[in-house]
Each structure stands twice: as structure tokens, then as C-alpha cells.
Amino acid sequence: MTSQPLPPSGAPLDHFVDRAPFDPNASEPMTKAQERVYLASQLTLMWWKFRRHRLAVVSGIFLAGLYASILICEFLAPYSPYERHTDFIRSPPQAIHLFHEGRFVGPFTYGLSYKLDMDKLRRDYTEDTSRIYPVRFLCRGDTYQFWGFIEGDLHLMCPGEGGTMFLLGTDRLGRDMLSRMIYGARISLTIGLIGVSVSFGLGIVIGGLAGYYGGWFDLVVQRVIEVVQSLPHIPLWLALSAVMPPTWSPILVYFGITIILGLMDWTGLARAVRSKLLSLREDDYVVAAQLMGARTPRVVFRHLVPGFMSHLIAMATIAIPSMILGETALSFLGLGLRPPITSWGVMLNEAQNINIVVLYPWLILPVVPVIIVILAFNFLGDGLRDAADPYR
């Protein structure tokens, strides 16, 4: 096809006519890809878009792996989280070596010996390079009850016979930090999230309706929000912890508390949703939906709330850390989880001490998984946001 000529600047324009054959009904043939796309549902489209966000996909896979791992932490953890090694109290992290005196041995740990410093009252650990313990894989170690009922003793990794392998050190009772962290994920990654869901559900529904209806309904909801916001959380928790049946296990109690937390925490989100919808509901497409005879829930959740999705996703991912660490704040009040239950929050709580920060810094390592999980959730959130964003 020839490019159409343009006269030089200032010259009069010629009458140009495209001479190519013209068929108004011709349309470009559909490619295979287009064929696939054009009737795809919105969810499918989003999924395709999401897949292109590499960091989000990686985060998603990571989180999925993490959640899968909590099913098999018995197998993953080298030790039982309750197993105490009285001879290795507060042992610093042990390195895995590959070479011994320049010779390749494969992964192994050196022996660990300690000396009691009775002046400073601390245990000083030294690596004993004369003892070598090759790490074993898929091996038999501490016995456990898989999912609470299947006996087992298979581990992914174990220390060499007679040796130790505290990759992240041990705590003040001589328990392996790594194993505790692996087990801790179980609680940290589950219970708190329920609280988030409760508060988000309430916030979106209540705020959404208030913003959409406006008027007296909004007025009432607003007053309820004020009242709920004014309710003192702390004494309420204190009171509630007193009424929780003493026969409840600590996990159940904590679970109850997180739900209540969620029940009281929706107000901020509800206000944000409400005020956004107050302005969104003036748009024509809302009117259009109404004119089609859509019921309120459909208008709110199909048309209005998606317009606020970015904010909701951002807030949800931001709320996750506070829920993972929720128990730290609560245990400040004596309400959180306590040992022997293991969670990242509990472990960090035990590290809540200047001694530990200064002398045994490996005990604050549980912040690392917390940070990674939060990052992963945020990147995942970014991916979801972009997938839901029609402009990207």
C-alpha cells in the first residue's frame, strides 16, 4: 500500500483518493488469540492480567507454598517445637558448612560446646571444629503426631547423629527457633486473618449501604459508628476475657477475641467506603443500573464497590500485619496467646526485652517471616489491584 502523498508546506492540497479496493463489510479476520479473548469472562481476563504481574505471581506462589507448608510443618521442622535441649540454651544460630579444612564434605554442622560464664551468667558457645555432623535428609528424628493423630518421625532435614542443627539458634528453654517458627506459622497465618475478614465484610457492607442510601440510614449508621468507635476496646477485652469460659483452650479464647476485634474494627473502613460511595453514587452508571431494575446489593457491590477496589485491596493487605501481630498488642494486656502455643507474635513477645535485643538478637528473627509475608501480601495486592484496573 502506498503512503498517501502530502504536498510541501504551503502548497495547495491535491485531491487524493485511495485507490485500494474497498469493501465496507470486510472485517479483519479474528486471530486465534482474539477468538479466545472476546467472550472471556471478566474474571478470566483479570486472571490473565494478573499472570503478567510477575512479582505478584511470585508472591502468590510463595504465599500458597507457605500456606501449604503449615499443613506439613511436622515434616518440615527439624525438631519438635517443644523439644528442649537443656545443654543448648540460647545457642546462637549454627551455620551449615560445606567444606571442612578445604575438603568438600557436603552439608554438615560442627559440634557445639559451651562454657558457663558464671561471672556474667551466660553460656558462651564455641564451635568445635573437630566434630563434624553431616546433615541428614528425609530422616528420622523427633517423633510427632501428624495433624494431631498420625504418629510419625520423618523429617525433611535432621542434624547428624549426635550433633545439633540450630540454624536459627535456640531460645531460653533450649528449643529450636527454626522449628518454632515453622510451627508458629500455623497460628499466625490463620487466626488473625479471620478477624480481617470479619471487619472487612462488615465495613464494606455497612459502609456501602450507608453511602449508597445516604439520608437517614446514613445518619443512623454514622451514629452507630461513633458509638462503636467510642467504645473502649481495652476494658471490653478485659471484661470479655473474664467471661470467656475457662474451659476454652487458649486458642479458642484468642480466636474469640480476634472475632470481637473484627466486630469492633470495621468502623474506619465503613466510613471510608461510605464517603467514597457518596460521591460515586452520583455517576450515571449507577442511575443506569437502577433503571435496569437492579436491587441495592447489586448496585452497591457490582457497580460501586469495584470503583473503590484499589483502596480496599490496599487496606486489606495493610491490615494483615496487624492481625498477624495482633497477639503482641493483646498480650501486652495479658490477653494474647501464651506459651505453650507457638506463634510468631508469641515468639516476638518473648523477645520484648532489651536483654534479648542486645545479647540474643537471633530471638527477634521471627520478624523476618512477618516482614516477608507482609511484603508478599502487598505485592499480591498490587497484582490484584492491577488486574482489576481496567486501564492497565
Binding site: 445516604g214 439520608g215 445518619l219 454514622q222 451514629r223 459508628i225 461513633e226 458509638v227 468507635q229 467510642s230 467504645l231 473502649p232 481495652i234 476494658p235 471490653l236 478485659l238 471484661a239 473474664a242 474506619g268 466510613r271 471510608a272 461510605r274 464517603s275 467514597k276 457518596l278 460521591s279 452520583e282 470503583g307 484499589s310 483502596h311 485491596i313 490496599a314 487496606m315 493487605t317 495493610i318 500485619p321 496487624s322 501481630l325 503482641t328 498488642a329 501486652f332 494486656l333 507474635g345 516476638l348 523477645a351 520484648q352 526485652n353 532489651i354 535485643v357 542486645v358 527477634i364 520478624v367 512477618v370 516482614i371 507482609i374 511484603l375 502487598n378 489491584r385 484496573d389 486501564y391
Partner: protein
């Protein structure tokens, strides 16, 4: 608008009545009272509480009366500016809170200011440069602030500040300046200590806000009116601030009212960890020891501020968005 505000102020009265009744109930909810708490705590340390004094105090402060009567007395007093009596400090609530209020406002205000000053530029940067290294880096830092528990952050920062700068640990000023009249040196000492709590308390909020601004702004950046603004030839900064940013502030404005109560209560738990002379620890302690008038009056004060804050944020919202101002409420 004026009529609207007046009407809202009238509505506040029943709201506050309900709230106060709830607060009172919650305070009464625990099966024990301040005096029992006191006895138990003293006993744990081998001390004993003087039972006859306790009886005396109980009678003096009407604990032998039915709760309903106490409630109405309390409310009546509250309205007249008598906030009741703190058992723990054995002095009127007003005196207990008195001096701490100023410092609390200082800390909270600086924190909020810092949060805003930091969060806005970063949020805008992240939204306008999504998926750049800058975005990732700043996101990471912001999330760190959220992910590391405050107490840990506080401990580490205080320890390092002490080791590196010789700053006294905890508190808002050098103890030498306690009880001293205000002087330039005291101000300096306060400023030297202020940054730690400001950073620690502000860390979480900043991170949250950055993410929220980023998310909301990203949505608005696609809108046609922003293209129009650019077509006018507005410099990007101004165009951004005047149009998309303003539109994306909706969420922010809906929370602007929350600033009021936080300004006077501060961030309780962190303040405890940091040993700040603010009202937060006071409130917490009062709640734990069931010093009910101190806690109750303070909470009621906070809820007054909440209610006022909600009103303020509603008004601000109406100003922000004329669609809400001119059409909201009226059912079309």
C-alpha cells in the same frame, strides 16, 4: 450548611448519652472494682491494703449506691466540668490528666504532621512511578514500619539512640527537666527526645497512608479530567495536586476526624513502651486498675472528640466534593 451543622450538633446529644451509658457499663462490666484490684496487687507484693480506708473511700465515692445513680451523678458532674475522682492518684481526674495533655498533644501532633509530610510525597511518588525501584524501595520501608512490632522498634531505637547519641532512654525529656519550668534548654531536650516516639508511632501510620494514597491515586490518574488538565498545559505537579490528588483524598478526609481523639490519647501501647509522659499510659493503667472515673471520664472525653471529629470530617467531605454537598442527602 449552618443549619446542617446545628442539626448535627443536636444529634450529638443522644449519641453521647448512649455512648456514655455504654462506657459506664463497660467500666462496670468487670466483676471486680478498683479496690479489689488494689488489694490483689498489693497482696502480690506482700503488702496489704488498709481495709478500713477502702471502706471509707467506697462510701465517700458512692460505691454503695446503685450504678444507675452513680451514672447520673457522673454525667451531671461531667457536664459541669467535674470529671470525677481518680482512686489511683487520689485526686480529681482533671488534675491527673492536666499536665500530660500538653505533651500528648505535642507528640501526637508532631506524629501526625510527620506522617502527612512523609506519606504524601512518597505516596504520590509511588503512584506516579509505579513499579519503579523507588516505588519498591519506599514500599518496602513503609511496610517495615508496619511489620516490625512497635515495642521492638522502640527498644532497638532507644537503645541505639542511647548508645550513639547518649540520649536518655524513654521519656520525652531528660529527667533533669522534670518538674522544671519551661526553658529553652528544656525545649531542646524535648525536641531531642521527640523524634523517637514520632518515628515509632508514625511508622505504621505512614506506611498505611502511603499505600492508601498510592492505591487511590493510581485510580484517579486514569481519569479523563486529568487528561484535560494536562491538555491545558498545567505543570504535572500542579495538575496532579489539583485534580487527581484532590479526588483521591476522599478516604483521607473520611478519617480526618479520627485525628482529634488520637491527638489527646496518643498511641497508648507505644507510649507505655517508650515511657512517655502522655495520657496514653495513664488511660491504660486506669483501665487495668479499674480506676473507673479516671478511665471513664477520659473515654467519654475521647468520644466527644470522636463525635466532633466525625462532624468535622463530614463537613470537610462536603467541601471536598460538591457532589456530596449539593446532592447528597436529597434523594435526587
Amino acid at each position: 450548611m449552618l443549619r446542617y451543622i446545628l442539626r448535627r450538633i443536636l444529634i450529638m446529644i443522644p449519641t453521647l448519652l448512649v455512648t456514655s451509658a455504654l462506657i459506664f457499663t463497660v467500666m462496670e462490666l468487670p466483676p471486680s472494682d478498683y479496690f479489689e484490684t488494689l488489694q490483689a496487687e498489693m497482696a502480690a507484693q506482700g503488702e496489704h491494703a488498709d481495709t478500713s480506708r477502702i471502706e471509707f473511700l467506697k462510701r465517700e465515692y458512692g460505691f454503695d449506691r446503685p450504678p444507675v445513680e452513680r451514672y447520673f451523678r457522673w454525667i451531671a458532674g461531667f457536664v459541669q466540668g467535674d470529671f470525677g475522682y481518680s482512686f489511683e492518684y487520689e485526686m480529681p481526674v482533671r488534675d491527673v490528666v492536666g499536665e500530660r495533655l500538653g505533651l500528648t498533644i505535642l507528640v501526637s501532633f508532631s506524629t501526625i504532621l510527620m506522617t502527612w509530610l512523609v506519606a504524601f510525597p512518597i505516596g504520590i511518588y509511588s503512584a506516579t512511578h509505579p513499579y519503579s525501584w523507588g516505588d519498591y524501595g519506599l514500599t518496602f520501608i513503609g511496610l517495615l514500619g508496619i511489620a516490625v512490632p512497635h515495642f521492638l522498634l522502640a527498644l532497638i531505637m532507644m537503645y541505639l539512640a542511647n548508645v550513639w547519641f547518649g540520649l536518655s532512654i524513654g521519656g520525652l525529656m531528660d529527667p533533669a527537666y522534670f518538674n522544671q519550668p519551661w526553658s529553652w534548654a528544656k525545649v531542646q531536650s524535648v525536641l531531642a527526645h521527640l523524634w523517637i516516639p514520632v518515628i515509632i508511632i508514625g511508622a505504621g501510620g505512614t506506611g498505611t497512608m502511603v499505600r492508601a494514597i498510592r492505591a487511590n491515586l493510581l485510580d484517579e490518574l486514569q481519569k479523563q479530567y486529568y487528561v484535560t488538565a494536562k491538555a491545558k498545559g498545567l505543570p504535572p505537579g500542579r495538575a496532579l495536586v489539583k485534580y487527581p490528588l484532590r479526588m483521591s483524598l476522599n478516604f483521607f478526609v473520611s478519617h480526618i476526624g479520627d485525628v482529634l481523639p488520637t491527638i489527646v490519647s496518643g498511641s497508648e501501647l507505644t507510649a507505655v513502651v517508650l515511657s512517655l509522659q502522655t495520657t496514653g499510659p495513664l488511660l491504660l493503667r486506669a483501665l487495668q486498675s479499674q480506676d473507673m472515673y479516671l478511665a471513664g471520664s477520659f473515654l467519654l472525653f475521647l468520644s466527644c472528640l470522636t463525635v466532633v471529629g466525625v462532624l468535622i470530617s463530614d463537613i470537610a467531605l462536603a467541601f471536598l466534593d460538591p457532589r456530596i454537598r449539593l446532592q447528597g442527602g436529597s434523594s435526587k
